[in-house]
């Protein structure tokens, strides 16, 4: 029987040499890169998807579009899309970031639409009855009440991008995925392990951050369905919808 060599999984992660701030490809450098890719991509997607979602939800026109884009986005293989764009236009940061933006749009769009549609009709009618104009109805009644769902859409989009950005290292993107992909290609398992641990921690932290933001901005009068359900003893009024989160 040959002895299996013990791998020190943490060798790369806890090697001070990999934590030099200024160094290209060092852990802090890749970490910041990963965070920047994620936040910039989600911000651009939100700029595109939020207005469309609000419009579709408010007017209820084109609902099929919001629902179908949401479903289609979930079934597209992220890695396939990345491969396709790179084969078509070549290796580069910009095409990959565009794919990340495209992939983050469906969860935000679908959640925004669903959030606006889930707002109690009587609240909207009351707002109209009080003489609110459409923009006021949207921004002072519908958005505040839909906020838990809208934020959950942003959170799934963030996780989606964070995960896909990792995979995108295979087609040349920077960020923490570099540790995984480069480590795999040269069989340095401790480097792979370091990348995996860091990217998992980053994803969990980003999601907790999303939860904190949700707690801070959602009006106390609008409890998320989960919190409301634990408080009601009567038959619950709304059926829970499975969260549409996709990690990749």
């Amino acid at each position: 029987m040959t002895a299996v060599p013990m791998i020190n999984y943490f060798a790369y992660l806890f090697d001070g040499a990999n934590w030099q701030w200024a160094e290209q490809g060092s852990i802090p450098h890749l970490l910041l890169q990963h965070i920047a890719y994620t936040l910039v991509t989600v911000a651009i997607s939100a700029l595109i998807a939020l207005p469309i979602g609000l419009l579709i939800g408010h007017t209820n026109r084109g609902a099929f579009l919001a629902i179908n884009i949401g479903n289609a986005g979930r079934s597209l293989p992220t890695f396939g899309l990345l491969s396709l764009i790179v084969t078509l236009v070549g290796i580069g940061t910009l095409p990959v970031l565009i794919v990340l933006v495209v992939l983050a749009i469906p969860p935000i769009l679908a959640a925004t639409y669903a959030g606006i549609r889930s707002v109690d009709r009587s609240a909207v009618d009351a707002a109209i009855g009080m003489g609110m104009r459409p923009p006021q109805v949207v921004f002072r009644v519908e958005v505040p009440m839909a906020l838990p769902l809208i934020i959950s859409g942003l959170r799934s989009a963030t996780l989606q991008v964070c995960a896909t950005a990792t995979v995108a290292a295979y087609v040349g993107l920077g960020g923490l995925g570099r540790l995984l992909i480069d480590g795999l290609s040269v069989n340095e398992y401790d480097r792979v392990f370091a990348g995996a641990v860091l990217v998992a921690l980053l994803a969990i932290l980003l999601d907790l951050l999303g939860a904190a933001v949700e707690r801070a901005v959602v009006s106390p009068g609008v409890r998320s369905p989960r919190e409301r359900r634990t408080r009601t003893t009567s038959k619950s009024r709304t059926r829970p919808v499975p969260t549409a989160g996709v990690s990749s």
């Binding site: 079934s75 992220t78 890695f79 491969s83 392990f193």
Partner: protein, 214 residues
């Protein structure tokens, strides 16, 4: 593209078959694990938050990270298909426990009280009343989990087991678009077929839903 598909049909078929079991096996395992955990989270309310929070944390871990960390935990080889199956089982379970718990909570009401008044014992009430009523919501969760799994499997190609994902890596290496397009189309089709399958099963299992809709 069709020419490429015909020439490489055995490779493509093999990738598709691997893709099917790599994505659907975890759905079965995950659902089987999620049912009792979800039930317990409803039966003992204090378990609900910890279960949901753990699920949320597990679900947020990027798949590639989970694929490569699992060998260190399970003692499997880095290229073992087991890593992909276990990782996707974890995602499915994380997603479905919450769905099962929420679905079972949402059916508490007149029907369950009526069953109790009729003298149904807890197990019979669960199997005969609560589970059938919770089925539509649970199956909706199963659809999300199945479709997500099918699109995730291809990432496994980066650790050597990716079903149709192998077509993506091959296309990238050869700078050749055909296998990539075929892989995307088959993956999306597979997701659509499985989604439709669950919808049909749901229609068959919940005939009363159609009566209500009428």
């Amino acid at each position: 593209m069709i020419e490429y598909a015909v020439q490489n049909r055995s490779t493509i078929l093999e990738a598709l078959v691997q893709h099917i079991w790599l994505s659907l096996l975890p759905v079965v395992f995950g659902a089987v694990l999620a049912l009792p955990i979800g039930y317990l989270a409803v039966r003992y309310r204090w378990l609900y938050q910890p279960v949901v929070n753990t699920g949320g944390v597990l679900y947020s871990i990027p798949s590639l990270a989970l694929f490569v960390v699992l060998p260190a935990i399970l003692g499997t080889g880095v290229l073992s298909p087991l890593n992909v199956v276990v990782a996707l089982t974890i995602y499915t379970m994380a997603l479905l426990t919450r769905t099962v718990a929420d679905a079972l909570t949402s059916v508490q009401g007149e029907a369950t009280r009526a069953a109790y008044a009729l003298g149904y014992r807890p197990l019979r009430q669960l199997v005969g009343v609560e589970l059938p009523m919770a089925l539509p919501v649970m199956l909706a969760g199963l659809r999300v989990a199945t479709v997500a799994n099918i699109s995730l499997v291809s990432v496994g190609a980066l650790v050597g087991v990716g079903g149709l994902g192998a077509l993506f890596t091959r296309g990238l290496q050869l700078d050749f678009i055909e296998p990539i397009l075929i892989g995307i189309i088959l993956s999306v089709l597979l997701a659509a077929v499985c989604d439709l399958g669950i919808v049909l099963v749901q229609r068959w299992l919940t005939p009363w839903a159609r009566l209500e809709a009428r």
